[in-house]
Symmetry: C2
């Protein structure tokens, strides 16, 4: 059995997220269908697993997925065949042979996400799917200070989507909400304000909830100093920040 590490980019606006859902067009489902056409149905109907289960509308510059196959097709040929079979909204950037114990999520050492906010009054129609348009005043320096306050190893429950099933598993000690953030920074890039965060892993909605909280700091509703208190509360209801819109978010890359 070959383990193939597939690196892919996609325009999330066209999909109901990464993960297969009945009746929805998803990236995982579309990739699985293209793989089935080229290398045949996988053993035990296993879907290609992804490093990050991006939500509807979230984009990827370099998502990583695993394909297990007995097909002898060389990786370079498979890449060309997959790009022919996939819609233009999904592109395979690379395919490499991976070790037998490789798993796109479990083996990841770090992931980087980016969030783009377009700051000018009129957002070009060509950016509407690819950034969050927020032309109103923001204290960008305060947002930078707030972003720095989440660096480190902490329990990020205050920034996680509320999920009854996961809450039960948390109580059982099967999972935990401790993650380490290595870098967290806001930068001005021309007409955009861009957040880049690199961490050991991210909880569901964590990056969008971080951005939503930083936006409240930018608006003056919260102060940068409030962020440490919100983290310490370990409770989503202690965080008044909304989940920022999906359109601005990108999975930039995964490190192994």
């Amino acid at each position: 059995m070959r383990n193939l590490k597939i690196t892919l980019a996609y325009d999330g606006a066209d999909f109901h997220g990464w993960q297969v859902q009945p009746g929805c067009r998803t990236v995982q489902g579309t990739l699985a269908a293209a793989l089935a056409r080229i290398v045949g149905l996988p053993a035990e109907d296993e879907l290609p697993q992804g490093a990050g289960r991006t939500d509807a509308g979230v984009h990827a510059l370099a998502q990583v997925a695993l394909c297990q196959t007995n097909s002898p097709i060389p990786a370079a040929n498979l890449k060309i065949a997959l790009n022919d079979a996939l819609p233009p909204a999904i592109r395979v950037l690379a395919i490499e042979e991976a070790p037998a114990d490789f798993h796109p999520r479990a083996s990841a050492r770090a992931k980087t996400y980016r969030y783009r906010i377009f700051r000018e009054a009129i957002c070009p129609p060509f950016l509407a799917r690819y950034a969050y348009h927020h032309p109103y005043p923001l204290d960008e320096a305060a947002m930078g200070a707030a972003a720095a306050a989440v660096i480190g190893k902490r329990d990020f429950t205050s920034f996680a989507a509320v999920d009854a099933e996961r809450s039960a598993r948390l109580k059982e000690g099967e999972v935990n909400n401790v993650r380490e953030i290595f870098a967290s920074v806001w930068e001005r890039q021309g007409e955009e304000l861009v957040y880049t965060v690199r961490g050991s892993g991210f909880l569901h909605h964590m990056v969008r909830n971080l951005v939503g909280t930083f936006l409240l700091v930018g608006k003056g509703t919260l102060r940068a100093g409030d962020v440490a208190r919100i983290v310490a509360a370990q409770n989503r209801t202690a965080n008044p920040g909304a989940t920022a819109p999906a359109s601005g978010l990108y999975l930039v890359g995964v490190e192994y």
Copy 2:
């Protein structure tokens, strides 16, 4: 009655072209509906006329449309209200009061179109809607020579969409296919090959047919010297060039 000159940008991938068609989402129809909500239905149900009737999938950086209204709403306020009412795929960039005799098409002195070809092997998913992906070899210098060969005042029937109704009007002498091209140039812009053409006006499909013909020159099927012969034939069937895909084409601007 006020004559309002509206400059707008749009992502044509989301629309069945500019011109209203029953049962289709068009830019003109969407703009008309937004105007009706804000300034009321126009006199005699007249639709906002555009400078260029862009086809399905064709984009605009600065289309010009005319709105005739008795509404007293100041132009600056109307711009804000329209951008609130319109989908993000259409943005109003400017609204100005225009003279009573202003007509977006009849008053135009020149129009500029651009065509983007993405040349690398893998087209990023974020460009798939906004450029034509052609990663195969092209003699770009020959394409430049071919583009220069169409500059001047000529009959461009060989590059016009075949249209029975228009052919009848041509025979009656009601219209003619003579247009003047002021500039016609291919340029390398990083990973893209970009065609820019500025002319007195353009026939239906003319820019996409020019690009399709230049692509045959790039592929070596035609020589740059063949273009003058194709123009002189004044017949679309004398031109083996295909109509290039809509996704790469932009109405860049209109001069008055």
